[in-house]
Each structure stands twice: as structure tokens, then as C-alpha cells.
């Protein structure tokens, strides 16, 4: 099995499972319980909080644990919107955000907020200059992701922060696909909120975090016990939180080396495919990208057919974001970049990870070529290329 869909989810790193197991066995206390067993669990959660804060360049009390990236995004967007409803109802985002952000803005629109969607250029980069024009006195929040999940393109969040700051507007960034793939120093970056998800960095599914800069107004999404300083109620997923911290530690320790290694593998993959197939476009290939992601359009074929043929060969890739597979529409990210709809339908995302080897890439490239050739040979669009 060759797994090249690390942007969808990742295998747990063995160190992560080892870190979690004691909390799935004897250290099962509730962190809110006042006796030793509870204090042990509480200490584990706070130790994880400190480690994560350190890796991200933040303070421990700025990390709020959630059930994943989706909840972190919702907490940020709904939480700020509610906390600042008296200050204004205008929000800004981009057209290429993950559905966890886009659908949430859609819902906020349904609830009466006004949302501006910043366009992206043909390279997949959000137009930060357009932000300046969109800002209004009633603008309260801008949300632009750090790295796109489909193309890997890195967004100019620093510029966005600079523009928003001038106007006193808060900035959220969905950093789910940036963690472990870019150096993150949140204080230096200057965002007010940032979302993370453990299962994208060889941690467990069902755990994430929201970074909330001190002083940022935020209403909770759920209420109950006074966990997470009242920002997020509910008994903590102790084992998951411990695993999240360990995963981030593993990712950060090896980060520079992995970035270099995965960049080389990604370039090899793209090079081999381009050398042997015509009418191939690397979407976002001209922009700064995280090293592990390659989004390639194969004109004349449909992505899903490539996915299935590779699946049958034991290679796992996807057409785009996992949670929209099943959706016959071409990717909103690619369309947003101005990719031709036919090319968008023939797009495949290859996303590499720490366990990806040279052999994986060497095995994959020719099979991609074969799949595309075969499907093109039977495609009704043969002549349109």
C-alpha cells in the first residue's frame, strides 16, 4: 500500500500511540477530578498545552483544545462574530478556504452577516491587496488559511495581518495544513486566532486546537463545565490531547529535514509525470507551496477514474479535500484560481508524508502515467486536448 493522501489524514506515528496508551489504560482520570488520578490527567493536559504552545510560538493559556480542525474553525468564526456582534457584522475570507470555514461563513451570512470573499490569482494566492478595499468600519474579522489543503499554496497571511491590524480587524488563519510543514511562530505572525488538527500531523483523529491570542474576544461554541478556561466545555480527550502534543513534537523535530526530503520527492513525482505525459498542469506549481503537496490536472480524464485505477493498484490519492469527495462538482479551490473546469475535473492531489519513500514515488509515477493514458484512450474528449 502506498499512501499519498496525507492532507486527508495521516497514520499515527508510533511515538504518538506510545504517548497515548497510558492515558487509555491506567491513567484514566478525569482532569477535573480533585484526587491524584485526576491531577495526573490534568497535568498531562497542561503539559501537552505547554508543549504545543512552545512549538507554535505561543503561550500555554492561548491554546484551547477542541475536537478537531472543524470545531476550531467554527469556534474562531462563530466565537468572534458573537463576541463582537455589537462592533460590526462584516467578515472577510477567501474563495479557497476549506469547507469548515466556507460553510461556516455561509451560515453566518444566513444569520445576517455580510461576507466578502477575496479572490485568488491564477497561482492560487489570495489577493491581499483586495482586502484593503473590502475593509469597512463594521469589519470585525478576516479569515485566510495559511496553506491550502488542495494545492499546498502558502497564503500571504503576514500581509493580511499587516493590513487588518491597521484597521483594528482581527485575523484568523486556518493553519491545519501548515502545521509540521512550515515553521510557525504565532506571536511573530501576529494572527489573533489559528486552527490546528492533530490527525493531519500523524496525531489522532478527533483532536485539534484553537490558538487564541491573549485578549481576543471569543464566545464559546458550547457551554457546560468550566474546562479550557470556560472557552470550551466538555471532558477533555486526554489521550488525544497527549497524542496531539507528541505528534507536533515529532513533526517539529524533523521538520527541516522532512521539508527538504518531501520537496525532492514531490519534484521527482511531478518531473516524472510531466516528462511522460502531455497536457498536464501542476496547479499552484508556480507559487510558494508546502513541500508535501502536488495538485496535478490531467486534461481529458476525470479525477475519480484515476483515483479508482490507482486504488486498484494499491496507491491511495484523492481528487481534493477528503470531505468533499462524493461531490461531483469540480474543486472550488481550482475554479477559484481560474483553472478551466475541464482541467479542474481531471485534478489529482498527491500529498506526501513522513513515511513516504523514494520507492513509493518511483512506483507511483509510472502507474499514474498508465492510468492517464488508458483513460485518455477511452475518453470522448481525446480530440479536445
Amino acid at each position: 500500500m502506498i499512501y499519498l493522501d496525507h492532507n486527508a489524514t495521516t497514520p499515527l506515528h508510533p511515538r504518538v500511540l506510545d504517548a497515548m496508551l497510558p492515558y487509555l489504560r491506567e491513567r484514566f482520570g478525569n482532569p477535573s477530578s480533585p484526587y491524584r488520578l485526576g491531577r495526573e490527567a490534568y497535568a498531562a493536559v497542561n503539559r501537552a498545552r505547554r508543549r504545543i504552545a512552545e512549538f507554535l510560538g505561543a503561550m500555554p493559556d492561548e491554546i484551547v483544545f477542541t475536537s478537531g480542525g472543524t470545531e476550531a474553525d467554527n469556534l474562531a468564526l462563530r466565537g468572534v462574530t458573537r463576541a463582537l456582534f455589537k462592533s460590526g457584522n462584516h467578515l472577510v475570507t477567501s474563495t479557497i478556504e476549506h469547507h469548515a470555514v466556507l460553510k461556516t461563513f455561509g451560515d453566518l451570512e444566513a444569520l445576517g452577516h455580510r461576507v466578502t470573499y477575496l479572490p485568488v490569482d491564477p497561482h492560487g494566492i489570495v489577493d491581499a491587496a483586495a482586502l484593503r478595499d473590502s475593509l469597512a468600519p463594521e469589519t470585525i474579522l478576516v479569515s485566510v488559511m495559511l496553506a491550502n489543503n488542495e494545492t499546498g499554496v502558502i497564503q500571504p497571511v503576514d500581509e493580511i495581518v499587516a493590513i487588518a491590524r491597521e484597521r483594528g480587524v482581527l485575523v484568523h488563519t486556518d493553519a491545519v495544513q501548515a502545521a509540521g510543514k512550515l515553521s510557525l511562530r504565532l506571536h511573530a505572525l501576529g494572527v489573533d486566532l489559528a486552527s490546528f488538527s492533530a490527525h493531519k500531523i500523524c496525531g489522532p483523529k478527533g483532536v485539534g486546537a484553537l490558538y487564541v491570542r491573549r485578549g481576543t474576544p471569543l464566545a464559546p461554541l458550547f457551554t457546560g463545565g468550566s474546562h479550557e478556561d470556560g472557552t470550551r466545555a466538555g471532558t477533555e480527550n486526554v489521550a488525544g490531547i497527549v497524542g496531539f502534543a507528541e505528534a507536533l513534537a515529532v513533526a517539529c523535530e524533523a521538520q527541516d529535514e522532512q521539508i527538504a526530503r518531501l520537496g525532492r520527492l514531490r519534484d521527482t513525482l511531478e518531473g516524472e509525470i510531466r516528462a511522460r505525459l502531455d497536457d498536464v498542469i501542476v496547479n499552484g506549481g508556480q507559487a510558494p507551496r508546502v513541500a508535501n503537496t502536488s495538485n496535478i490536472s490531467f486534461k481529458g480524464v476525470e479525477g475519480e477514474s484515476i483515483v479508482l485505477q490507482l486504488d486498484l493498484a494499491g496507491i491511495f490519492v484523492s481528487t481534493g479535500s477528503a470531505c468533499t469527495t462524493g461531490d461531483p462538482e469540480p474543486s472550488h479551490v481550482l475554479l477559484g484560481m481560474g483553472v478551466d473546469p475541464l482541467a479542474a475535473k481531471g485534478a489529482i492531489r498527491f500529498s506526501l508524508g513522513p513515511t513516504t519513500t523514494n520507492e513509493d514515488v518511483a512506483f507511483t509515477a509510472p502507474r499514474v502515467v498508465d492510468a492517464v493514458r488508458r483513460l485518455r484512450a477511452l475518453s470522448s474528449l481525446g480530440e479536445r486536448l
Binding site: G300, E302, S305, L308, D311, T325, G326, A377, L378, S380
Partner: protein, 163 residues
């Protein structure tokens, strides 16, 4: 919750279960839950290709690739029967497999029999396809009917203008 979508979650066809998978709902969820017969027709599609122009030929084209799948289908009619049929598809595995199966069902049939083939016939012959992919099976059926129409138009044109 919508009664219809929700209900579909619990429907299940144990025949669809595959190695290493406890059991899953083939009719719902991620869309590539195809059975072995569909996968066979996707992997080894029957009757791929085209037929060159001629009086006995009919051609059908269905679907706009910019907003969905596309199938092209050619038939050659001989003595009121479909002697040969060829197709090309741009589309998902469901579109390819259903078009392929359609050509198998159509070959050798009379024009009337061929025209009577429905998308349900195709789905049945394939042993089922995921609910969200049912629309795919219409492509081939419609392309076949278009090809039959085209053939009839040509033959009547030929009759009217027998030069």
C-alpha cells in the same frame, strides 16, 4: 434530518462487502463504493472505440464535460439489429462502467429492443451502483437512443435521397 438521506445510511447489501472491510453501505457515503462487476467494466471496458462514417452508422453524444460526464456512442445497424456498438466516455468510473455495460446489453439487439433498454436495466446488469452515481447510468442509455435517432435520420435521408 432529512428522512430520505438518513434512511439510506442503514440500507445495506452484504454482497458488496469486500476483503478487509467489515461491512459498509454501498449506496451511501464516499462515492467510489463500486462492486466488483462495476470495477471489471471500469478496468476492462467493452466495446471502446469509434466507428467510421457510413450509411449503417448512428452516432450519439450526450453530456457536457464542463458540468458533468460525457459519452459518445456509435452503432452499426445491420438487418434492423445493432451489429456493432462502440463508445468513448469522459467521466467517473460509474460513467465508464455503465456505458460499457450498456454496449454489452445493446449489441445484437433489434432497434426496438435497444431503444427499450433503461438505466435500471444497466444498473441491474452491473449488480447495483452507488445511489449518488445513478445519474451516470443515464448517459449511456441516452447516447444509445441518440445514436438510434441519428441512424434513423440518416437512413430516412438515404431513402429520400438515394443518389
Amino acid at each position: 434530518m432529512d428522512e430520505e438521506t438518513s434512511a439510506s445510511r442503514s440500507e445495506e447489501d452484504p454482497a458488496q462487502s469486500q476483503e478487509g472491510i467489515d461491512s459498509f453501505d454501498p449506496m451511501s457515503g464516499p462515492m467510489l463504493f463500486y462492486n466488483d462487476r462495476v470495477i471489471d467494466h471500469f478496468t476492462n471496458p467493452r466495446n471502446v472505440g469509434d466507428l467510421s462514417e457510413g450509411a449503417a452508422i448512428g452516432f450519439g453524444l450526450v453530456g457536457d464535460p464542463r458540468c458533468g460526464d460525457q459519452t459518445k456512442l456509435w452503432i452499426e445497424v445491420s438487418s434492423g439489429r445493432i451489429a456493432r456498438v462502440r463508445f468513448r466516455s469522459f467521466g467517473c468510473p460509474g460513467a465508464i462502467a455503465t456505458s460499457s455495460m450498456l454496449t454489452v446489453l445493446a449489441e445484437g439487439r433489434t432497434i426496438e429492443e435497444a431503444r427499450a433498454i433503461t438505466d435500471d436495466d444497466v444498473i441491474e446488469a452491473l449488480g447495483g451502483i452507488p445511489a449518488r452515481k445513478k445519474h451516470c447510468s443515464l448517459l449511456g442509455v441516452q447516447a444509445l437512443r441518440a445514436a438510434i435517432d441519428d441512424h434513423e435520420k440518416r437512413s430516412s435521408a438515404a431513402r429520400e435521397d438515394p443518389a
